[in-house]
Symmetry: C2
Subunit: 150 residues, 2 copies
DNA sequence: TATTGTTATACTCTATAACTATA
DNA sequence: TATAGTTATAGAGTATAACAATA
């Protein structure tokens, strides 16, 4: 009979960075699928939900908070405005305050619900483990370079 | 005096997916910096270290294991071969077995050391928490869609 | 002088589709 | 019919540089 194939030896299994990256790819792909029916992508939802919680936040504040550079924030905000989801009103001569429109608030509500279902699926995968320590560990890793992405 | 700026409210802080993504970006950027002096990128190192641990592994096996599609594995393997880091020897008429050259093994050793230093910096950020539960949680998340990336 | 917003551009990673050759 | 490898191509996300307008 045929020799059983030797299993692949995985020298990366114990690496935090590797497992972090693989888990992130899986979860982002699942989130993208969950949001697609709403016509939204992950980055657009983080913007919508943060604007909902911070009316009149400026583009640069939003970008700093989400780790999105100004150069990449501009087309994102322009897209949301063109779709009638946010209003951009000048706060001074150079800053725009971002606020959800009624349509944007309604879509944010639907997106928030979709995100909650998606999150619950993954939280369940942790089994007995509560998500708190995981989130704390991830926040600690992020804090090593909090300015990454600004 | 000026009003203190109201702090930004973060509705995403409790989301596993968001923290996972942000932590992954920070850690991948740091890894890329740690590997740049060796002329390697993160994806190339995962390939080198996995080939080192699995001599004569085929491209498709390697890609399945690392979550890299065949279409993206081809140029990666071609680059490593062109740099003299791996040998590609036919196992049958259609598969290539990948093995490190002496230069590839030497570079893999240096890369492994650089990765260990990088990993230790991040493990230290966890403070009292041992990395085991974090890695287990990340592996559980990945297991929700283990075929992602094949 | 520093900040905000914008545009242009490039690089990396990931993805699908189509093709050839071989099992 | 399925698998291995390749090529071409497209879509996101992230990055820098340069610019105009404003603080």
């Amino acid at each position: 009979m045929a020799d059983p194939l030797p299993p692949v030896v995985d020298p990366l299994a114990g690496l935090i960075g590797y497992q972090l990256r693989r888990a992130s790819v899986v979860m982002m792909a699942d989130l993208a699928e969950a949001l697609a029916p709403h016509g939204l992508r992950p980055g657009e939802v983080t913007a919508l939900l943060t604007i909902a919680a911070n009316p009149a936040i400026t583009q640069s504040e939003l970008g700093r908070h989400l780790g999105i550079k100004r150069a990449n924030m501009a087309p994102l905000a322009a897209t949301l405005a063109a779709r009638g989801l946010i209003d951009r009103t000048p706060v001074d001569g150079r800053s725009h305050g971002l606020t959800l429109t009624a349509a944007g608030a309604a879509l944010a509500d639907r997106a928030r619900a979709a995100v909650a279902v998606h999150e619950a699926r993954f939280a369940a995968a942790l089994g007995d483990q509560p998500p708190g320590p995981l989130i704390a560990a991830l926040a600690a890793i992020r804090a090593i370079d909090p300015d990454r992405g600004e």
